[in-house]
Structure formats: C-alpha cells, structure tokens
C-alpha cells in the first residue's frame, strides 16, 4: 500500500479488531481503514432447467407458454407453436442453464403470476413446484 500524498510506503501503525491505521514511512500521512474477513459464499450451482405444465387445456397451455416466454427471454427465440411442439414431443420445455438462486427466483415469479408450471432441475431429482 502506498501513500495517497507522496506515494511512499505505508506501515501499520495500529490495528484494533478489523480497524487498521496506517502511517506513511516517508511523509507521516495517516489513514484508517476497515479490514474485511474472507466471505465464504454458499454454493450456487448451475442446473439444466426444464418446465413441466399441469394444465391439459390447450388454450390455457398456450397462454402459459406465452407467459413463460416473457419471463425467460431466451425462449423468445422459439415461437409458441414450436415450444408447444417440444412440449408435446418430450413432455417438457427446455428452459436452459440457470444458477440455483435464479431457478428459485423464476419459480417464485411464475407462481406469483398464477402459472401452473413446475421447474425441474437436472439431474431430475429436485423439483420446484410453483403450484404449491
């Protein structure tokens, strides 16, 4: 660390807890600062996410697909009919890769908007139901 006034080397004058005071070895300028410990972030793994729909009503299903396209912009690369075809063929719509916290966020938003879809994370051993 160097002095903001003369660019000289700063030595630690005193440290109380994580408040530290430095003094410039060249000009005597003093500055205090707050030290922070390491931040061990909880893991936020990435998942492959798919949407399953509970409704069997074709009109309602189209509306749900339209709304999930609005919530997940990458799905707008495909038309509603293409997504409906994917759903018919595989029983699910591929949402893409998302961080776990983002999956939770999307599930909450979808639920708040009254969608009946369920988001399934890959591997398919963990599901988030927006209907509950």
């Amino acid at each position: 660390m160097t002095c903001r006034k003369c660019d000289g080397p700063m030595d630690i004058l005193e440290q109380t807890g994580h408040v530290v005071r430095f003094k410039c070895a060249r000009c005597g300028e003093e500055v205090s600062g707050l030290l922070e410990p390491r931040q061990h972030l909880p893991p936020d793994p990435t998942f492959q996410v798919f949407a399953l729909f509970s409704t069997v009503d074709a009109n309602h299903l189209s509306k749900e697909i339209l709304r999930i396209r609005q919530l997940v912009p990458i799905l707008q690369r495909q038309s509603v009919s293409e997504l409906a075809t994917q759903l018919k063929a595989s029983g699910r719509i591929e949402i893409g890769t998302m961080r776990g916290s983002k999956v939770d966020e999307l599930a909450e938003t979808a639920s708040a908007q009254g969608l009946t879809l369920r988001l399934v994370r890959s591997p398919l051993d963990s599901t988030l139901s927006t209907a509950n």
């Binding site: 630690i12 807890g17 205090s32 922070e36 983002k102």
Partner: protein
Amino acid sequence: MIAEYALVGAGAKAKVGAQLAVTMDSAITRSLRGFGTKEASATAAAIKRGMIEVELVDSLPGDFAGLQLFGTNKLQVLKSLPAEEAAAIVAHEFKHYLDHISPQNYNIWHELEAYRFQAAATGRAFDEQATLARLMTHPVYGKLPR
C-alpha cells in the same frame, strides 16, 4: 434504493473525474454482472464510473481479504481470491462506502446492512436474525457499538 445508487454514481463521476486509475480485475466485474442482481449491477456500474476504485493487492494484514479506507473511494481486495468471492467483498465494501462510515460512526448495524447488500448482490438468501446473532457474538464485530 437502486435509483439512489445510480444518482450517487452519476454525481460522483463528475467529482472523481478521470484521474483515478482503476486496477480492477475484469473477472470480478464479470462475476458481478454474472450475479444478475440489481445490487451487483449497481456495484459494477460504480466501478465503471470511477465512483469507487478497486485495487487488487498481494497481501493484507492478518487473514483479512478486503480493506476499505475510511473517507476515500478506495477498496483493496486480495488478488488471490476466487473472482466470485472478491466480487462479494467488493459489493460489501461498496455498501460501506455508500454509508460513509468513519472510525467515529462505524457500528454493528453498518455490518448488518453490508451483509444484507452483499447477499442481495450475490443472489443469496439473507437471514437477518441469524446474521445479527453471528455479528453480535463475533470476536471482532461483537465489540462494535450498537
């Protein structure tokens, strides 16, 4: 709240000017953007605008990983940290900067708010009661004024 950060950033841009050399690792900025939250975006924008200056350093006193110099816009973060952890620390320190902490006014509530902001920035859940309990019993934070 975020609009307030943006306003502060815009004001600071004029004050700080271009003389500040930002020695920010682009991986940290990418991590902030990658968190995809408003708080992380506000932090990244503050760096881009020169509102805060982040310096990557080889070492800090003790086992500490970050340093915010009181009364300045300067933050220091250990170079050796994983980018996401460094980004979380930058967000935490950015909140301290916004709160204008000084040796005279610094208290445990500043830390609670910094951890709240950090959690929001990184998209993690924040448990206020658990965090406050942890701070109050912490060997260092626990001694702060309340």
